[in-house]
């Protein structure tokens, strides 16, 4: 998988600015190093969706609250999705945290960019798979977004058997390890117009540095 320099710059906070030659060179070499050590893996399964009073049910997982419910409104099924680029990326970050902090910061951005683009790639596969049934995907929605409780991380990891299947687990604080990992719910809908909620616009974190404005 090839990383985009523009995406890495976005994670570094360069909003539209051009990097100087030294940074440009470092980004290329960090991207190359992350690509070399990453072992992206993902797993997903379809679950039926039922809506209750102020909650939504995914298979036998109950999610209390408004935001996820709103996000997958109208869906009869949803995909539980989990992905990680593997523990080697964490080891690399750790190593450079002691050796060269500037490189660690760029590696961290490169790893985050890789995680995101890997998720997009995997999502594309799911999109193609459900297209046969006339279904479309809602954007990924993860525990911790809005009022979707972070505690649901545990149920998603269990339901997908993540530790064994892709080496993804979590800490007592519901932090995913390896750190460059994602879990998400993807609603499946027969309504193609339902898919145009922009990734970031549905999120309540208005101060997020990575917030993309408009419909991307």
């Amino acid at each position: 998988m090839k990383l985009q320099e523009s995406e890495i710059l976005r994670y570094l906070g360069y909003r539209g600015k051009q990097p100087d030659a030294a940074l440009h060179k470092m980004i290329l070499s960090c991207a190359e190093e992350v690509e070399r050590v990453a072992t992206p893996r993902s797993v997903y399964r379809l679950f039926p969706v039922t809506f209750g009073e102020n909650c939504v049910q995914l298979g036998n997982i109950t999610v209390e609250g408004h935001d996820l419910r709103q996000h997958i409104r109208g869906c009869k099924e949803a995909v539980l999705f989990a992905a990680t680029i593997g523990i080697q990326a964490d080891i690399l970050l750790e190593r450079y945290s002691h050796m060269d902090m500037s490189r660690a910061a760029v590696l961290q951005a490169a790893a985050a960019a890789m995680m995101e683009s890997y998720c997009d790639e995997e999502e594309k596969k799911i999109r193609e798979q459900v297209a046969d049934r006339g279904l479309f995907l809602r954007p990924r929605y993860s525990p911790g977004y809005g009022d979707f409780p972070i505690q649901l991380q545990k149920d998603i990891l269990n339901a997908l058997d993540c530790p064994k299947r892709i080496g993804l687990s979590m800490t007592e604080s519901y932090m995913l390890v390896p750190t460059k990992s994602v879990t998400a719910v993807i609603g499946l809908t027969s309504d193609p117009t339902g898919c145009h909620i922009a990734k970031c616009m549905g999120c309540s974190n208005k101060n997020c540095p990575f917030r993309k404005e408009g419909n991307e």
Binding site: I61, M99, M101, S102, N158, P163, K164, T171, S173, V177
Partner: protein, 791 residues
């Protein structure tokens, strides 16, 4: 059935998958299968019976996840569930004279430092399950589906420490034959055989055809029976159900190839059914197992890879040893692990194959410091380590938490030494450096040293330690103290190689103590020793002369195919020799532009005319301020800010060396940094640390996942006036709040600044932080303010 009498005479068959069958009977995704031992015992017993009827010799108990980490909150104890599970299996197995394997799967958690499960906690929870299994009557322990060597070590160690049962271990690998944590098969096998497992192999993850591909690799390194329990192919999702594609006939056909290829124990994992096992038994029962070839090579391992002795000579990096190194001594006294870690990474980059780790200083607690050093180095370096200590307690503590099969330095011919070291080597599985000295000192003759090597070998044998795990050091003494010293060492070395067949190692650079231009003697002696059969050398991998000698020797003696390593070594040297682009740059400019080498050069040059403190105050701090201001304005970005910080750090190293000579210090105020309990992500905290250090603050880095009590105690003990806390998750901000509460209660005049992804100024105020820092520069500004106000 008697396990050890049967093994090798005929194939031994495991049963197949349990989880898949339970799902068919209605187990929901995410539900705990182990509870069915209590809730649906008849179903579990039926499944066992079906596998026994299909011909299984060993059935696995339904206890894959029966540990504290997974069962928490289910309302039943580990022992209750394990006891029920073993009894169900025993009852079914008794009818067929079959065996019951107490099944132990992974915790589903990642161990420290990458995750938050402590190694000893893992040993405890596996031990609890293993003990319950033995008490309920299991015949053996099967540690299975392990994707991390470290967790696997915890489980095997726990089984060995808590039971007297045979222990088997099987790993899960990906299509490249690697564990999920990146380790390869030879590394894992070295560790497991070192720990004394009775059989090992692979299970789960892949189908039989894919696991079959890894059988040759296993056979090349295994000396114990091989187990293979594949899935019925790769699972895929069909409308919300996991489906496996490999049918019984195909499964049996591949199993047959495994049996013919040398596996002694076969069975199935996810997706396999009694039909798969029946087909396999019918097809394979007549096959006579291939004899196992016992491997005689000397091997050690890290979590990532194995290093073999006896082929190409092994380079052991000597830089992490305080003897004669004042900067390292200082780092150890200051608890500055970063310095050790940088030494470790640099040696790896320069071509070391193994790293020696020695922290022996009279004034430090060697047991805890060595353990910590090993723990931190193994987390970021992929090389095996040589645990170097004369303190048996420090040796044991470090071998225990070592992730792999360690090399231990050292044992010698004294009865007391052998009595202390050999039991550790036997229990934790290592290779050990054997020094040819004893109660009478170091013999002057080669014969004398050879005799001690022989004595050590005989004694090791009595402890059940194979001679392949002994690496003899015939001791290098300086030729300035005796002209024959080098010759005696080499003769003894040759005798040990030729007559005992043991591997050898030498601390090469000792040869030149007390003489000028030591590198020439060292390199020449190194080459002579290699020619005399030296297998490993403790050297400085940062020394060009030593590496040149090494690569030249390998090219000449035919172990470097087409001289590729030799060519690569020198082309790398030429690339590295290119000078830094702007050597003429002033110190402030070098810092502003983030040019590390130029900053170092400029700082050295300035020392000729100015005092270090003067340079810091008039050249460096203004440059750093300029960088900081531009960062705050948004014209400079984080990577540039950090590049400047790294450049300043390089200049500081130069100045501090000078200041230490004079006994000066530039340190301003003490600041504790930590990520709060539960938070294991610390890149933000590390960025803050680099910047604060640049401004000469004395940072006490407590690391990550730090309990409130530790922070309070440290602040009190060291009289710290400012604490910086980082939290990344909503779930850990509560621990931040608690830490602040305890700090304010215990130390009213200690300020707390906070930062992290989920925090806002409002939230920081709500949890009573004294300052919210929106970025790394913010914390520098606040620290300046706090310490200006202090007298």
């Amino acid at each position: 059935m008697n396990l050890f009498e049967t093994l090798g005479k005929r194939l031994v068959f495991f049963d197949g998958g349990m989880g898949t069958l339970l799902q068919e009977k209605g187990l929901a995704a995410g539900e705990l299968p182990e509870l069915w031992n209590l809730e649906h015992p008849e179903i579990i017993e039926d499944i066992h019976r079906a596998y026994l009827d299909a011909g299984a010799d060993i059935i696995k108990t339904n206890t894959f996840g029966a540990n504290r980490a997974k069962l928490r909150g289910c309302g039943h104890s580990v022992s209750e569930i394990v006891t029920a599970a073993v009894r169900l299996a025993k009852k079914a197995a008794a009818e067929k004279d079959a065996l019951v394997a107490m099944d132990i799967g992974p915790t589903g958690k990642l161990l420290r430092p990458m995750g938050d499960l402590d190694f000893e906690d893992a040993v405890f929870l596996f031990g609890e399950a293993a003990k319950a299994g033995e008490q309920a009557g299991a015949d053996l322990i099967l540690v299975e589906t392990m994707s991390d060597t470290y967790e696997c070590k915890a489980a095997v160690l726990a089984a060995k420490e808590n039971t007297n049962l045979p222990v088997f271990a099987t790993l899960i690998v990906d299509e490249r034959g690697k564990l999920l944590t990146g380790g390869d098969i030879p590394a894992a096998v070295a560790m497991l055989e070192g720990l004394g497992v009775d059989a090992l192999g692979l299970n789960c993850g892949l189908g039989p055809d894919q696991l079959l591909e890894f059988l040759p690799q296993l056979q090349e390194c295994c000396s114990v029976p091989i187990i293979i329990n594949p899935n019925a192919g790769l699972p895929h999702d069909v409308n919300g159900k996991n489906v496996f594609d490999v049918g019984p006939e195909e499964f049996a056909a591949d199993s047959k190839k495994m049996a013919e290829g040398g596996a002694w124990l076969l069975g199935g994992c996810c997706g396999t059914t009694p039909a798969h096992i029946r087909a396999m038994v019918n097809l394979c029962a007549g096959i006579t197992p291939k004899p196992i070839e016992k491997k005689n090579f000397t091997v050690i391992s890290s979590s990532q890879k194995a290093v073999y002795f006896g082929g190409k000579p092994v380079l052991i990096g000597e830089r992490i040893n305080p003897t004669g190194k004042s900067r390292l001594k200082q780092a150890l006294r200051d608890n500055d692990m970063d310095y050790l870690l940088r030494e470790a990474v640099t040696q790896q980059q320069n071509g070391a194959h193994v790293l020696d780790v020695n922290v022996g200083l009279p004034e430090i607690d060697e047991v805890s410091v060595l353990r910590k050093a090993v723990q931190e180095i193994q987390a970021i370096v992929s090389l095996p380590l040589q645990i170097d200590t004369s303190n048996p307690a420090a040796m044991e503590a470090s071998m225990r938490i070592y992730n792999g099969k360690p090399l231990v330095n050292s044992v010698n011919g004294k009865a007391e030494s052998m009595k202390a070291v050999f039991p550790l080597v036997k229990k934790y599985g290592g290779a050990v450096i054997c020094l040819t000295l004893d109660e009478n000192g170091i013999p002057d003759t080669a014969q004398g040293r050879f005799a001690i090597a022989k004595k050590i070998m005989k004694t090791a044998e009595a402890y059940g330690i194979d001679k392949k795990d002994l690496i003899v050091d015939t001791l290098v003494m300086t030729i300035s103290a005796g002209q024959q010293n080098a010759a005696v060492t080499l003769e003894a070395l040759r005798m040990v190689r030729e007559r005992l067949g043991l591997c050898t190692s030498l601390g090469v650079s000792n040869v030149s103590f007390g003489l000028p231009h030591r590198e020439h003697l060292n390199a020449a002696f190194f080459t002579m020793a290699l020619q005399n059969g030296l297998n490993a050398a403790i050297i400085n991998p940062n020394s060009t002369a030593m590496l040149n000698a090494y690569y030249a020797f390998c090219a000449l003696n035919g172990t470097d195919a087409q001289c590729m390593d030799y060519i690569g070594h020198f082309s790398q040297q030429e690339a590295a020799a290119k000078p830094d682009s702007g050597t003429q740059v002033s110190l402030p400019e070098a810092i502003y532009r983030g040019l590390k080498d130029s900053a170092k050069t400029a700082a050295s040059a300035l020392l000729a005319e100015k005092e270090p403190l003067d340079i810091i105050n008039t050249e460096m701090i203004p440059a750093l301020d300029r960088v900081g201001v531009d960062f705050e304005k948004g014209t400079l970005f984080l990577p540039q800010l950090l590049m400047s910080a790294e450049a300043a750090k390089a200049a500081f190293e130069v100045l501090r060396a000078k200041m230490r000579e004079k006994g000066e210090t530039a340190k301003k105020g003490k600041i504790i940094l930590a990520t709060v309990k539960g938070d294991i992500h610390d890149i933000g905290k590390n960025i803050v640390k680099v910047l604060l250090e640049n401004y000469s603050f004395d940072v006490i880095d407590l690391g990550r996942d730090v309990p409130p009590e530790t922070i309070v105690e440290t602040a009190r003990a060291q009289n710290v006036k400012l604490v910086g806390l980082s939290a990344l998750m909503t779930t850990t901000v509560v621990n931040m709040e608690e830490t602040i509460r305890q700090l304010h209660a215990a130390l009213p005049d200690c300020k707390v600044m906070v930062g992290g992804a989920v925090l806002t100024p409002e939230y920081a105020k709500k949890i009573h932080a004294d300052f919210y820092s929106k970025d790394a520069m913010g914390s520098v500004r606040f620290a300046q303010k706090v310490f200006e106000q202090q007298p």
